[in-house]
Subunit: 154 residues, 2 copies
DNA sequence: TTGGTTGCAAAATGTTTGCATGACC
DNA sequence: GGTCATGCAAACATTTTGCAACCAA
């Protein structure tokens, strides 16, 4: 199906990254696979339709997708993020290094930002927020991508 | 009702800040007032209930709140932000200087951050995103506030 | 075997829309 | 007076939940 190149096979990835305490079911593995093969964060609807189209013979319930995403999130292998440009939540596998995106306000393309701009100023942040224990953050950059910028100027 | 101290009266504020092209109605002025007197971003539901409780004799429709918030947003005097910790959108009057918040994951308190951490590194951002026209950004800091930190350690 | 997971349907939630009435400029 | 805003209800989209059947450990 996918011709993306990964360091090791999907089975190995599953073997290696499956969180303990989470029962391994067909549906969960399939949700994981969809997230694994995606390059951008996906909505529950996108995951559901990817599941349904990948294997027409199998059945999946929408609620199962949500429940499994929640299970993954609790287990710490999935991040749920809510962007201002979308009216639904997006999910992605948690990477070793967390990611930020530049979101195009016109076509909603999400361009990953290589480095985390906050990393360099985290000490300033801590200073600015005494008595607050920072555990994480979310950052979105808004604007217009190359293509849409063209459209705008016409 | 409110005993907050402002530089000038509400009427003067309205007079000064009302966007042109937006018809001034009782409902819109009241929505504006609620936002103006709030110190944190409010949800549509919070605004609606503030309206309803402030003046029991007047009627307000939920849809009017949404429509007016949208009108304000289009007029550029209100910012809508969607946080990962909330399951609904929050609205606030756009300040001269934009704001960021540290959000407590436990009690959802939003602590304003005085300075924008991104301001200092914006040139790096621009360099990291060629061909992308940055028009804005949203930043949330997650963690635990002073009070909830205590609760956690017990 | 047994407790967690699934599918289905229904409910809950937040938000948007259609339409007739009403209010602002 | 004409246009736009409002209230109401109904539609809508996303997400959650109740429950019986089912499956992985």
């Amino acid at each position: 199906m996918s011709n993306k190149i990964h360091a090791c096979s999907f089975d190995e990835v599953i073997e290696k990254n499956w969180p303990q305490g989470v029962k391994k079911t067909r549906q969960r593995v399939d949700v994981y696979r969809v997230l694994y093969e995606a390059r951008t964060p996906l909505s529950a609807a996108e995951i559901y339709s990817a599941l349904s189209s990948n294997s027409a013979k199998e059945t999946y319930a929408f609620s199962t997708v949500y429940r499994n995403l929640l299970a993954f999130e609790k287990a710490g292998i999935v991040v749920k993020n809510v962007l201002s440009t979308e009216d639904n939540a997006l999910y992605e596998l948690k990477q070793g290094t967390h990611k930020h995106y530049a979101v195009c306000l016109m076509c909603h393309t999400k361009i990953p930002i290589k480095t985390c701009p906050l990393h360099e100023i985290s000490h300033d942040l801590v200073k600015a927020l005494p008595d607050f224990e920072v555990t994480g953050h979310q950052l979105e950059i808004y604007g217009y991508c190359k293509e849409c910028k063209k459209t705008l100027s016409h």
